[in-house]
């Protein structure tokens, strides 16, 4: 065996190194009595200086380094498609971009969670949080770069089982535990069906390598069933209707930072994988029509149903759950037709959605931390007491709704254009109508914050530095991504169609 092929997996390897360092540092360097991370202490001097208490800087710093190393152009695998282990692992430059987007998401989530993790009840399990997050990220990496269904499945499971632990992180809180249980049960259910689908495909073609399947696969009942089961399994991860029912309960129960992570990073990776795998495995002319039809209906149902539910929500985490479902519908619009333009639009959409959604979650999280309130009515009059947070939240919501000149407008525009050019004007029209509806419910929050009055509004508070840093990153994205067209152009360089 040629061990040099491990070098082709440099992104995975560097992430693995990060995981190991974080894990070991947590294990050995932290004092048993106080369990305050010693590594954190050293670097936390600067953090204390800006008044945000101790925060676990190590994982964040390592992730930043990891992201930068992967983005540097001299790293061999970033520039040309490579593979390892006889095609089990396949890598294209586009994947580096997607992984970097996920990295940014993880960094923002870690920044958001820093203060929360320093609370007395969480301090003891700080290390677990970071390890679990990084493990799920590693699973997504494998899933993204897989060239074989077993590899893909391992990645999928690695991404969802530690996720359950994260969702049930507040294990003594009833809702959190319930959310974890619901998630793991349904995840198992969907994994089983997905595995069944993979076995059907194996039965038809006799291989699990993506490239070989693509050559051998014929349209018949078994392979269609395999396709549908595959879509449903991924639909579960992306929370497409009707595979979305876990979403609201889980989002509501999970700790807010985990909800943010789930709604952006986990969902984003799955959407990209869905696109690449379906293009690779079911890329033939005959299948193109089939899955396009499937997505056509799924998108319509997803966006519409999610909007219908979102209008009625009073709990903002549930509300964001439905908003995330409807956004997922827009993301999948990029898959239609399997064009290079669609892929660019999809990745760009994910990036923009990441900044806006995590920004909104950062606000929800910090408000929840300081006041324990998460209901829509609690936000009445937020502008009076915390004008800056209310303003940032407004920008994020505008971006999510797709109002120019924020990045969300451009991402929606590109995704609609991709769908239109792929030949689905009706779908784009329905999505457009739904955008109007979504505008209504996003503005409900804005109205609550600015116009409605409240007898006992959320008291003014100063947010911690971690959250501030996270918000700064998100705002930079919301304001700049659309206008600085170099980002879109850069993504466009690497995208590919069927």
């Amino acid at each position: 065996m040629d061990y040099s092929q491990f070098l082709n997996m440099q992104e995975e390897i560097s992430l693995l190194a990060v995981i190991l360092i974080v894990f070991l540092a947590d294990l050995f360097l932290c004092g048993k009595e106080e369990r305050i991370c010693a590594m954190g202490n050293g670097t936390a001097l600067s953090a204390t200086a800006c008044g945000c208490g101790r925060m676990n800087v190590l994982p964040i710093a390592l992730m930043v380094v990891h992201t930068l190393i992967n983005l540097l152009p001299w790293c061999g695998s970033a520039c040309t498609p490579v593979e390892a282990f006889g095609g089990m692992y396949q890598h294209t430059p586009m994947m580096t971009i997607v992984k970097s987007v996920l990295n940014v998401g993880v960094i923002v989530v870690m920044l958001m969670s820093a203060n929360w993790l320093n609370r007395p009840e969480n301090r003891i399990k700080q290390g677990e949080f970071h390890s679990l997050v990084l493990f799920t990220l590693f699973g997504m990496y494998l899933m993204i770069s897989s060239g074989h269904f077993i590899m893909f499945f391992i990645g999928l499971e690695l991404a969802s089982i530690p996720m359950t632990a994260l969702i049930a992180y507040d294990k003594y809180r009833y809702e959190s535990a319930e959310a974890g249980a619901k998630f793991i049960l349904l995840a198992l259910f969907s994994s089983a069906l997905l595995l069944y689908g993979i076995s059907l495909i194996y039965g038809v073609t006799g291989t699990l390598y993506f490239d070989q399947i693509a050559d051998k696969l014929q349209v018949n009942l078994l392979s269609i069933a395999g396709l549908v089961l595959f879509i449903s399994g991924m639909g579960f991860k992306i929370s497409l209707v009707p595979f979305h029912l876990w979403t609201a309960d889980t989002y509501e129960g999970a700790p807010t930072v985990v909800t943010g992570y789930l709604s952006v990073v986990s969902k984003g990776s799955a959407a990209f994988v869905l696109m690449t795998v379906i293009m690779k495995v079911f890329g033939s002319e005959a299948f193109l029509g089939l899955w396009s039809t499937a997505f056509f209906w799924i998108i319509i149902v997803t966006i519409t149903v999610a909007n219908l539910f979102a209008i009625r929500q009073k709990n903002l985490k549930r509300f964001m759950a439905y908003s995330a479902i409807s956004q997922a519908g827009y993301v999948v619009l990029g898959i239609m037709g399997g064009t290079a333009q669609g892929m660019t639009a999809l990745v760009f959409y994910l990036l923009v959605y990441l900044t806006a959604n995590l920004g909104a979650f950062a606000v929800l999280h910090v408000v929840e931390q300081h006041s324990g309130k998460i209901g829509m009515d609690d936000y009445n009059g937020l502008y009076k007491t915390n004008p800056k947070l209310a303003f940032l939240m407004t920008l994020c919501l505008f971006s999510l709704a797709g109002i120019p000149p924020f990045a969300g407008f451009f991402s929606k525009f590109f995704i609609f254009m991709a769908g239109f050019n792929a030949g689905y004007p009706v779908l784009v029209f329905i999505a457009l109508v739904n955008t109007v509806i979504s505008l209504y419910y996003y503005l409900l929050i804005v109205k609550a914050m600015y116009i409605k009055t409240n007898d006992e509004p959320i008291a003014p508070f100063r947010s911690d530095c971690g959250t501030r840093a996270a918000l700064v990153i998100c705002m930079a994205g919301v304001l700049l991504l659309g206008i600085v067209s170099a980002v879109y152009n850069y993504i466009d360089l690497f995208s590919y169609g069927i």
Binding site: L186, A248, T293, V305, I311, R312, S485
Partner: protein, 632 residues
């Protein structure tokens, strides 16, 4: 010439800095930061001009356009139309860089004195920087779309600056009026751009002949639509109504935006697209000429009867810009020859733009000094000021002589070229414009005598003696006056001409002599009527032609006409029914939709029961339905 990027970047950074950190800065620091940035910009602009004009000419004697930057900004379409952003240097854009940076720098310095102690001083400098950035971006645009973006930015900053005194209702109304009227015109500009882009497949200025051939009559249409946009910004009749009201803003702002730079954007736009006009729409070009001629006459007539000195200057600006428009409109060809050819008007227009920017800025800044001294805009509060304000008096006189077309001041040379080209177009046009030039001399000297001679207003002076303005205000006056004295001798044709080949300006003494005689006559008339302590002739004339005087004073009731059209006709008969339709039919439909979605949401809430078994069941059902759809 990559450094030209800083010409745009510096004012932008200064805007951001002053806008965000302004409230922590003292007035002085904020002013110095803004002024220093502009000074650097001015130096860079001059360097760019020297560098550009010292480039070797092409074989046929023309200048090569240089584009140090041209990036693909929004790749909305993979092929075909691209939205680019960049910097284009060619003779007219380089000339505009000089004009804008010079006047803007003068205004920055001047504002130190004029705005001293004003609330929102930092905000004022931030807006000035924003305006400078937008205007500079407009002239160096590499394509018409970029031009449009900066065009709108210019409109916004003009809006912000006119409404600078946001506590005064008149200023707010004026800023809104300016914004709405120009925005209305810009709508046509945008439509024109879209038509242009559709037929040419590009927004660039490197005109693609095949696309145009396919365009047919759509291309002249597009050009005329764009001209409407330009007419809005350049205050051509009947879209001029915003400019006189815009004088509610601080006077230095009027000098910068509403005299020297922004209002000539329309002229610049026509000049920028000039090759297209000449090639594909020579007939439509006469629209430009006649709109210009009428506006010049109308504005000059109104200016003769106004009593607010800034209003007089505003109407004189409208009239002078119309001169530039006329000069462009009477062109018949693009090739530059050595005789008075059909392309002379282009050079004349740009020349007049250049000289006018300087002497009109001077006039406005002088008016600012006067207003600063007597605290009023009305001529009745002035009179006899020459004793108190010698510097202002002399520089103002120089500017008046320049605008009247008296040699050797700059206005004479540029106006003479315009008149020559008008006579070449048709003698009728030539005589009209010469007559208007005479009116210009008359009303400018009416203004001059009204301010500096005539009766002193003893009552006002008793409590507050007028005094000369501080050095920060007089220095720009002197500098601009110097430019006004020498600018006429610049061999302008060597730098700017229709096809950028060198052209020697020579005076046509037939035309020049006539215009000098008429100007001197008009000045003499003004002296006879207005110089004395009492003005019996003026009063008698006003009484005799009471109706005409009243009409001119009321600007021929153009504002009232607008009021009638918008309120009585459009609002009452078009907007109201539409509003009713909107409120009852459209809103009704959406209310129904909202009610429907709400009701539907309530109905399907059972799906989200919280029980995992049910979720799994729905999941499975979904798979089966999907399978069913795909197999069928």
């Amino acid at each position: 010439m990559e450094y030209t990027l800083f010409i745009l970047l510096l004012p932008f950074l200064s805007f951001l800095f002053l806008g965000i950190c302004g409230k922590w800065l003292s007035h002085k620091t904020a002013g110095i930061i803004g002024t220093c940035c502009l000074a650097v910009v001015a130096i860079l602009s001059y360097t760019a001009a020297i560098d550009y004009f010292s480039l070797p000419r092409l074989a046929d004697g023309s200048f090569r356009p240089v584009s140090p930057f041209d990036i693909n900004w929004l790749p909305f379409f993979n092929e075909g139309l691209q939205f680019k952003m960049g910097i284009l240097l060619d003779p007219i854009s380089v000339m505009m860089l000089i004009v804008i940076s010079t006047v803007s720098l003068m205004v920055h310095i001047y504002s130190f004195g004029y705005m001293h102690g004003e609330r929102g001083f930092q905000r004022y400098y931030a807006f000035l920087s924003l305006f400078s950035m937008s205007m500079l971006g407009l002239v160096v645009a590499t394509n018409i779309f970029q031009m449009y973006l900066f065009w709108e930015l210019v409109g916004v900053s003009s809006y912000l600056l006119i409404g600078f005194y946001y506590t005064s209702p008149a200023a707010i109304a004026a800023s809104k009026k300016a914004f709405i009227v120009t925005r209305f015109a810009d709508m046509f500009f945008l439509i024109g751009i879209l038509i242009y882009g559709y037929y040419c497949g590009s927004f660039g200025f490197n005109f693609n002949a095949e696309g145009f051939a396919a365009g047919g009559f759509m291309l002249p249409t597009a050009l005329v639509l764009m001209f409407i946009g330009g007419a809005g910004k350049s205050a051509m009749f009947p879209l001029h109504i915003w400019l006189p009201d815009a004088m509610e803003g601080p006077t230095p702002v009027s000098a910068l935006i509403h005299a020297a730079t922004m209002v000539v954007a329309g002229v610049f736009q026509v000049a920028r697209l000039f090759p297209l006009w000449i090639e594909y729409a020579p007939d439509a070009l006469s629209i430009v000429a006649w709109v210009g001629a009428f506006t010049a006459f109308y504005a000059a007539a109104v200016a003769c009867a106004q009593s607010d000195i800034k209003r007089v200057l505003a109407f004189s600006t409208i009239s002078q810009i119309a001169f530039m428009m006329v000069a462009l409109g009477v062109c018949t060809e693009i090739t530059t020859g050595h005789e008075h050819t059909g392309s002379l008007g282009y050079m004349a227009s740009m020349f007049h733009l250049f000289t006018h920017a300087m002497f009109k800025a001077l006039l406005f800044l002088g008016a600012g000094c006067i207003i600063h001294a007597v605290h009023s805009n009305e001529m009745s509060a002035m009179g006899g000021l020459r004793k108190y304000m010698p510097v202002t008096h002399i520089t103002f006189l120089i500017a008046c002589l320049a605008i009247s077309g008296i040699p050797p001041f700059s206005g004479f040379f540029s106006k003479d070229e315009i008149l020559t080209t008008c006579f070449a177009y048709s003698p009728f046009m030539g005589w009209i414009m010469t007559a208007i030039a005479g009116m210009t001399a008359f009303y400018m000297f009416r203004l001059y005598y009204g301010i500096f001679w005539g009766t002193e207003n003893k009552e006002l002076h008793a409590e507050h003696t007028p005094h000369e303005a501080p050095l920060s205000m007089t220095l720009p006056l002197v500098f601009l006056a110097l430019i006004t004295c020498v600018a006429g001798f610049i061999p302008f044709g060597h730098f700017v001409s229709a096809d950028t080949r060198a052209y020697d300006i020579h005076l046509d003494w037939g035309v020049a002599g006539t215009s000098i005689v008429i100007a001197v006559g008009a000045i003499a008339l003004a002296t006879y009527i207005y110089k004395g302590e009492r003005q019996p002739v003026a009063e008698a004339a006003a009484e005799k032609f009471a109706k005409l005087h009243r009409w001119a004073y009321k600007r021929f009731y153009m504002d009232e006409v607008y009021q009638y059209i918008t309120h009585r006709l459009i609002f009452a008969h078009i907007s109201k029914p539409i509003a009713w339709f909107d409120r009852h039919v459209i809103d009704g439909f959406f209310n129904f939709l909202a009610w429907g979605t709400n009701a539907l949401g309530f109905q399907i809430r059972g799906l989200q029961s919280g029980s995992v078994q049910k979720y799994a069941f729905v999941f499975l059902l979904g798979i089966l339905i999907l399978l069913f759809i795909l197999i069928l």
